[in-house]
Amino acid sequence: MNYFKQDLASLHADLVAKKMSSQELTQATFDNIKATDPKIDAFLALNEDAALEQAAKIDAAGIKDDQPLAGIPVAIKDNIVTKGLTTTAASKILANFKPVYDATATQKLADAQMVTVGKTNLDEFAMGGSTETSAFKQTKNAWDQTKVPGGSSGGSAAAVASGQVVAALGTDTGGSIRQPASFNGVVGMKPTYGRVSRWGLIAFGSSLDQIGPLTRGVKDNATILSAIAGHDDHDLTSSDQAVPDFARDLNDAASVKGLRIGLPKEFLADGVDADVKAAILAAADTYRKLGATVDEVSLPHNKYGVAAYYIIASSEASSNLQRFDGIRYGYRAQDVKNLEDVYVKSRSEGFGDEVKRRIMLGTFSLSAGFYDAYFLKAAKVRTVIINDFKAVLKDHDFIMGPVAPTPAFDLGAELQDPITMYMNDILTIPVNLAGLPGLSLPAGFSHNLPVGMQLIGRPFDESTLYKAGYVFEQNTDFHLQVPTLGGQN
């Protein structure tokens, strides 16, 4: 069965019309993953028996018109807990962890009767931009297996790009959905902070983390976000704002006519690859031709985002990761003589280098004598960055720019150089600091590697981003190009 060129709507139509069953689609998905994953290593674990059993139940009950996601396979990033299915956050410290509950986002997908086929690879605890800090395997870019898939949701992005699944969940603390989406030529949404419950997301930076969808098209992305969004009593930072049917207005009537778009000059500054710059300028022209205005604007403190972020995110991480102590769950070191040894040796043997680096940076930034100069200063700079966005979004409907300064880089190229790796996030990080929605979608190619465009909106205005993304898709063909891998094409 070839479902590679299908989207959620066409799969749903086929399932309702009984042209295929959920069991057939789910089996075809596993067959496809087994054929292609030796090349890209997107998955850490497959959920084959339970998924096929769930698909059989869904088939037996029948799929109705008003169940747009029922019976369709989905992949889940492995820092989102799944009941009874090993969840590792790609860390040795959680290698054997079996959650006893589902994250709200995965529970909502299960309620919509999506079929979880497996858990995708990531940077350990989502700390990284290349999926290379995973303790278990190295995921490759779907377009070129000598390149990184981006990160930290590299497994989810590669799984969608290679046609293994039509949709996957990722998480984004500083760009971890948008940058791998960009590197793999797929669509990724980092929703507004509070739009999606973080319950069951293994916490990294709690004031920054959001769960969001990765898909091949904008409309599919909107459909999944509507399914997972909404207030949750288990996450009191989740918003009680109403959740629109984000996909509803994505049709021929959708238009960007009259919209005002801001293009920050800092987003096309030195350090941004020439092909990336050209793709974004061409996209700006596309929007102008479609009746929008695109103005040059300024986010003057953008360059301080990386420093502020690595203080704030590392501080929150150092606090969140205190729970990994070798006592109640996770890895415990052997040959320990006392309780202090359990803590120190379990953590030192269980965490990888990048996680340790961040714990150290966070602990330092929060420690006596350094708190005011580092953590508090960063929290104030965060306010300044938020104010920059507010000023631009006051008279612009959204902001456009690149997702990352470059296309996907070579495997191993930046792993030993933390600062270079951190600077890759310069265009995505400020969006998390401000809690705004950010959409990444295909906008060009550079030497046969995808280039992504980022649209940044006002709080809780994902609708405008989806509309602008959908209109862009309708007027370009970047999203129709797919990697040749495993002979799907």
Partner: protein, 102 residues
């Protein structure tokens, strides 16, 4: 190497974080952390006089709910994740360090 942080300080921060490093790891980590802290110090260029700190961007404030337990009664399932358990309890090594007990 600029001395924003030295080996002793790295060692001190490691003890706060309940981590330990070998000498070789300290040799590698100290200059890396020093470089990153140098990046952090660029924030001093930003004027933040009279600027409030942001700790959350949630639109929810002081959300109250009834304190009702849900999804409880799973102690057996939870214990399966414990590295060591017996008779319904998590087992740990001696909490009192006997080497200090004299």
């Amino acid at each position: 190497m600029a001395n924003r942080i030295n080996r002793d300080q790295v060692q001190h921060v490691a003890s706060l974080a309940k981590l330990e490093f070998t000498e070789a790891q300290l040799d590698a980590f100290t200059p890396q952390l020093d470089d990153i802290i140098g990046l952090f110090e660029t924030l001093s260029e930003v004027d933040t006089d009279n600027v409030e700190a942001t700790s959350s961007v949630s639109d929810q404030l002081n959300v109250m709910r009834e304190d009702v337990a849900d999804n409880w009664g799973q102690s057996q399932a939870l214990l399966k994740n414990a590295p060591d358990a017996a008779r319904g309890f998590i087992k740990v090594p001696a909490i009192i360090d006997e080497s200090e007990d004299n």
